[in-house]
Amino acid sequence: MASFSSPLGSNVNDLRSLEGCLPTLRWDASMYAEQGNAVFKFEDNIVTLEGVGPEPVLEVAAMLDGRTPVSTIAAQARADERLVIAIIRALVSAGLVVDCGSGHEEDIAPDVFASKCRHLYAVWKNRLFSHPLWEFLRTGKATRSQFVGWLIESYHFIEGVNDRLALNIAECADGKLKPLFIRHYVEEYDHSGFFITALGALGYDAELVESTRPLPATIAVLNHMRHCARRGPLEYAVCSSFLESTGGDRTSGLAFLGRVEKHYTADRPQVIKPLVSHIRLDEAYGHNDMLERVCSQAGRITRARASEAIGLGALFIETMELWSTDILKAYAEPSSFPRTTIHKYRPLAVDAE
């Protein structure tokens, strides 16, 4: 977590104009007042603006939407334009605000697009795997029913490749991209078998597992990817590639499974073994560079489309968090399992934290 302060007060007399500037605040920023200052958070950063009370800073920041000129912001906020300019400059230098008014090309090069996704994936993975579900599984704090629930929902999730990737192939009209997705599907379509094997070793037979109703958030993940597939192959690839592990992720993934095994299946090594095999098989297929392969065939990407595709990726991460929360809550009680009828969902008032 990087934390830094910006001495706003010293900039107030900087009268250089911001004519033509259309400032916009980062989509992932949060902001609040703390100890007399305005504080902003984004990614792993905390930025404190010092020297001016928090109210005008927060008011101005809320108006930075990439469409409104600085003079209009000052007028609407009934603030001195010099102060507004100083606030915006401080936020720009902190990386919280960019000028949408000028200096940006209309198109994005595919390699630039892919590299921006890679940067965001790292931030998003860190965020997702900090969710209590993953923390609880890693430390053994998750209950046994939450562990089994996670395995069952993971089975539905992986089986869902037939809901999402098959639709993506059907919807893909780009003759250069389609073969990439077909190959990916052929290599992945039956990987839910690894989870059937794992659950079988735990004492849950395939018939029972297949008869369970997936949680709504499990279906939500798959439906989001179906939504993306209908929007286009790039939109789909941004979400799909997040799921494919790279070298570092694989190491962490294997370490995670090792800890899960220690906490929940130390006496049954056959449970985790298929999940390790799954990770290794994906590695052998080289699915980790799918995004780069799709981008290399995509040509230049319009700014609007690039923004929409990554925006859908950001929403995908939120959906994955929703999934994680739903598993924790729905499987909090042993009686929640198995979800084979429409009469079971969550027990009363269970807090995921």
């Binding site: 916009t24 605040l25 980062r26 989509w27 920023a29 949060s30 902001m31 609040y32 504080v39 902003f40 958070k41 920041a61 809320a62 939407d65 990439g66 469409r67 960019v98 949408c100 940006h104 994005i108 630039v112 697009f113 921006k116 940067h119 965001l120 949680l215 709504p216 958030a217 279906i219 939500a220 439906n223 989001h224 179906r226 939504h227 700014r303 690039a306 923004s307 990554i310 925006g311 950001a314 929403l315 939120e318 959906t319 968090e321 929703l322 739903d326 009686s335 009828t341 429409i342 009469h343 079971k344 969902y345 969550r346 027990p347 009363l348 008032a349």
Partner: protein
């Protein structure tokens, strides 16, 4: 819903209940009530705890637990009266299409309770919700109402073999297509920027509900129209115009959101005038001599799934908009921010 439990009834208990205690004293806790049992009542309820799953008849339960049927009925009566127990056998027992619809709608009323025990509602009604939560609800509701231009439009375009049903759905869509404007107007009256609201990404839980409705609409008309029972259940049977008192109360608590509540009020009045509580599903199944078991299952599953997505929807609103540092409306991603 409140009909007596007969020997053939299969009581199903709401998943929102929890049991505390053992032996001679037992509390059955709902979100907003506690039911105390003692002596024989406590023993009966403890024995029934894991058996009220809708698969056993009252007569079978009486045998299993070893108590007279009458005593069993007495123990369950209060929960049944409060809508926390339903006879799971009513759908199978239904004969005519109207009975099938009534059974389906009873389940909708049973399941929708899970939506209204979400913390969002108790905080809202207590008058203690913050500005972000109230307006955040308005924004997510705007997205949901606007989404008729996805799911209702899909429902029309994928209803390709039943022209009459398609006309009904199309008429409903035409009547609903611009209702989101009412909420946009209301949010603007609260000081929010229209474009910011339009461009705000919905929460993942809101998008999950919309995507679910889309997929239902793409699959088949019966399932899709069955989702509406959950949306209609809360207001069913209320006198026309009765929503006014509810919104008056909210305006008293949250004067800053008067414009939004006016939009809710206006929308409710329009729906009253359009008769949107007259469900298309009822019209659809009334054309059938008999509703086959497979179609009954489809209706029930769609309604149940819908209730689960509404749980996620309100949970998502509550958890996000009560979080620290939230900026409303949410900002869309723009790649220029990371170049």
């Amino acid at each position: 819903m409140t009909a007596n439990l007969s020997p053939a009834s299969k009581p199903l208990i709401s998943s929102q209940l929890s049991f505390l205690g053992s032996g001679d004293e037992l509390e059955v806790r709902a979100y907003d009530a506690v039911y105390s049992y003692s002596d024989l009542g406590a023993k009966i309820m403890m024995a029934l705890k894991d058996r009220l799953d809708g698969s056993r008849s009252m007569a079978d339960l009486a045998d299993e637990v070893g108590v007279p049927l009458e005593k069993l009925g007495e123990a369950l009566a209060v929960l049944r009266d409060d809508g926390l127990i339903i006879d799971a056998g009513i759908m199978d027992a239904a004969q005519s299409p109207d009975e099938v619809f009534d059974a389906y709608f009873s389940f909708c009323q049973f399941w929708v309770k899970e939506v209204f025990i979400q913390p969002f509602w108790s905080v809202l009604l207590s008058g203690e919700a913050g500005r972000n939560l109230v307006l955040g609800w308005g924004i997510e509701f705007y997205h949901y109402v606007y989404s008729v231009n996805e799911h209702l439009a899909n429902a029309v375009s994928y209803c390709r073999t039943d022209k009459m049903a398609r006309r009904w759905i199309a008429q409903h869509y035409v009547e609903e297509h611009d209702h989101a404007e009412i909420f946009l107007e209301g949010l603007a009256a609260c000081g929010l920027d229209r474009e910011q609201v339009r461009n705000a990404p919905p929460l993942a839980s809101t998008r999950a509900l919309i995507n679910f409705l889309n997929e239902l609409a793409l699959s088949d008309s019966l399932g899709y129209l069955s989702a509406f029972g959950i949306m209609q259940a809360p207001g069913s049977g209320r006198p026309r115009g009765s929503h006014n008192r509810f919104y008056d109360g909210l305006v008293k608590h949250y004067g800053f959101a008067a414009g939004l509540f006016e939009a809710f009020r206006k929308h409710a009045s329009i729906d009253d005038d359009l008769g949107h509580d007259d469900m298309l599903l009822k019209r659809l199944i009334r054309r059938e001599q008999d509703v086959p078991p497979e179609r009954r299952r489809k209706m029930m599953t769609a309604a149940r799934d819908t209730s689960e997505y509404f749980v996620l929807y309100f949970e998502g609103i509550y958890e996000f908009y009560t979080g620290p540092g939230v900026i409303i409306p949410r900002r869309p991603f723009d790649i220029r921010m990371v170049l």
